[in-house]
Amino acid sequence: MAARVVIRIQAEAFNVAKETEALSSPHDDLGAVATFIGYCRSEGGRLAALELEHYPGMADEEIKRVVDQALQRWPLSAVSVIHRYGVMKPGDGIVFVGTASSHRAEAFAACEFLMDYLKTQAPFWKKEHRADGTIGDWVEAKADDDVAAARWKIGS
């Protein structure tokens, strides 16, 4: 069974309901859908927005490579990755990742793997817009994220 793959890089907001439904489009041996949504945070009121820059030519290709790794590793019936760029306000969804499989362990593992790899491999960068109206710093990558990605033991 070929997996149903959705990869979208877009400025527009995504509709969680629609995306989740698409993952569970009827087929009899779907057993488990895991989803993850990453939101823009205000960091305790410090931020007014996050601006996401991306590398348009590469983002789509790189996410496709990460999705292909997930498909090789776990028996998935559907995978969706939607990543936004542009200016996000606190509470806005930035990324949606969803996986469908027959069993829960595979759906969870693939979903978490995809998120870990998006964090460290997908060419997106966040810049802070401060609540006081000034432009802040570029968000620094976390060592934690590299550790999280490394536990899957796939070379980058």
């Binding site: 990453g38 290709e61 930035i94 997106f124 960068w125 990558a141």
Partner: protein, 100 residues
């Protein structure tokens, strides 16, 4: 005797001209989002290219001052400092990614 062939000269020129793209604070420090650059034959690896660009002016020097903080891609695939540029058409430099 050397015969000058214009078409051949143009082909040679295209071979060494490459697009370089910059993102996030690397882009801000360099001052441009992308540019076409003719690189000398001594520039073989990503690391060479970063060093060569650093010599251009203060902006480039600042972008590459800590090479550990700059990542690269060759033709839209993640690359390491020792990877060879070869016949690549597009090189990109950027900070560690912070998407997701």
């Amino acid at each position: 005797m050397i015969i000058f062939v214009p078409a051949f000269a143009m082909w040679l020129k295209r071979m060494t001209e490459i697009k370089i793209a910059y993102f996030a604070w690397v882009r801000e420090r360099v001052g441009v989002a992308d540019e076409l650059v003719t690189i000398p034959s001594s520039v073989v690896t990503i690391e060479d290219l970063a060093r060569w660009l650093s010599a251009r002016d203060e902006g480039y020097a600042s972008a590459f001052e800590n090479p550990k903080l700059v990542r690269a891609a060759i033709d839209r695939v993640h690359a390491k400092p020792h990877d060879m540029i070869g016949n690549a058409r597009e090189i990109a430099f950027f900070p560690p990614m912070t998407g997701g």
